[in-house]
Symmetry: C2
């Protein structure tokens, strides 16, 4: 299972990102397609991406060692079943996505992973920083994929890294999860968007950061609150897992350097006031995910081959 | 290294608890002695406990496979050096405790671990609940020892499980660590004590729980705030590590069933209002450390033998 071609897919609410890896784990093809929602739609579009990636490289789909799939939902990687993948229009429990996709691909082995976990595996590989890290996904929600000493930590019920639902502000608003003031309400990009319009039409995170840099005080306030919450997520990750690296990823980390610089500044300011935080040196551990790199599909492809 | 006798010590601020384990990891002797503070004092009283445990069992100290030592401080288990063990009167960095103790014991191998990590290893063994758990130490401070899939998670800088310094109440008082409103300020037994006198002379945690049960409203308030904070620590542990079991240990868990029942009730109430928390079923995972059992010395003894 550790040689030959493999395919990795990241199936999100709007698009499927696919990669083809060769036996040396190098990316030999990429493909993006629109997601078709619902179980049938997901299986159909996913299998089409696999077939087209193979065709473009001139290989037979049957020659692929396996297909790894990252999905936003609760996954049982042993069985390949997926629960509550609401963003994919798959609301049911225990949808046998792995088995369905294997069937659609005429028997090719399929491994299903949570998408954030897949991204953590991919980031560990693509960054070449060693395999003790957390991938902090800043997207519609907030969660961490955690690789400890080279092993993905999924948890007893697949819930490891659900840090978006740790309380951040006990007196804060109700979260969709039912609790109050969850970290996800403050550190997620969707919150940054929802904070707009900061000025005329300023909604997206890039625009908030740009307006803040240009001196707009309200944009600066929104940006600073977001950065503070992301820094709190990093601090939480270090105080719990004490991973060597924390990788800022997900759509809202694409703001890039201004986010990283802001998080570094907050963590250094807090370390100045705390011997414990100073000794943990959290700021030194934070890096950005490689911009535009297919971390989740690559991680999914590595997972099917049992590689980290 | 996996057969023969081994000794485990838990060196605390007031006492040294020692156990002698046989080759089947059964406890064959226990001994408690007063801690003598300072590096020389710690080495002297620790080596005396080892020698007396062996003498009482009629074996030669030189026949011991190794001595495991749990200490409250930052430990580098590879070198056996200890930093900032202020409760032992060892304030310096990188005190070579392992090497000093090996020397005092004429060459017997010594392994040093953080005491909470040792307790986690011991709890995993003594409870027989599998090896995926967090040991939540409720003592002067609050921290977790974490065993994930049979492996102790120490962390990149020995800081894994420092959950006592995750923020619990952002507007709370200053913590000794320099941050504000740390969980440790609310979930530690010392805080429970400091909240007294609840009634005349009611200071210790047992008395607070007894007075609360007897209808004292102020004691009930102190108890409920403590229980709420301990439940928050459990929730944090489940949302981050998603361990199969959370073991309540440390001096202030000796309150026993009233604490466990209270934590269960809080977690069930919160799960009623949150689908996510319901699916994680945190309450079902919480158990008490075996009352009076020498979890930390047993764990230290297992660590020196490379067993979990």
């Amino acid at each position: 299972m550790s040689s030959g071609w493999s395919v990795g897919l990241d199936i999100g609410g709007t698009k499927v990102d696919g990669v083809l890896l060769d036996s040396a784990s190098a990316v030999r093809g990429t493909l993006r397609a629109a997601t078709v929602r619902g179980t049938d739609g997901v299986v159909t579009c996913a299998s089409r991406v696999v077939r087209e990636l193979c065709a473009a490289a001139g290989i037979d789909t049957a020659d692929v060692v396996g297909v790894g799939v990252g999905v936003p939902g609760l996954v049982d990687p042993r069985t390949g079943s997926v629960s509550h993948a609401v963003n994919l229009g798959m609301d049911l429990s225990d949808v046998p996505l792995g088995a369905l996709l294997t069937s659609a691909l005429d028997g090719v082995p399929v491994r299903v992973e949570n998408d954030v976990n897949a991204a953590a595996l991919g980031a560990a590989h693509l960054l070449g920083l060693g395999a003790d890290l957390a991938y902090l996904a800043l997207g519609t929600g907030v969660a961490a994929g955690v690789v400890l000493d080279g092993r993905l930590r999924r948890g007893f019920r697949g819930g490891a890294g659900e840090i978006g639902h740790v309380t951040y502000e006990p007196s804060g608003p109700q979260c969709a999860c039912g609790q109050r003031g969850c970290l996800e309400l403050y550190a997620s990009g969707s919150t940054l968007d929802a904070a707009g319009p900061v000025g005329p039409g300023l909604r997206a995170s890039h625009e908030v950061f740009e307006a803040a840099a240009a001196g707009d005080p309200r944009a600066a306030g929104v940006r600073d609150a977001f950065v503070e919450a992301v820094a709190a997520a990093v601090r939480l990750i270090v105080l719990t897992y004490d991973v060597e690296r924390v990788v800022l990823g997900g759509g809202f980390a694409e703001v890039g350097e201004p986010l990283l610089g802001g998080v570094h500044a907050v963590l250094r300011r807090q370390a100045d006031g705390s011997g414990l935080l100073r000794s943990l040196a959290s700021a030194d551990r934070v890096v950005l995910a490689p911009p535009g790199a297919p971390v989740a599909p690559v991680g999914a492809a590595l997972a099917v081959r049992g590689r980290v």
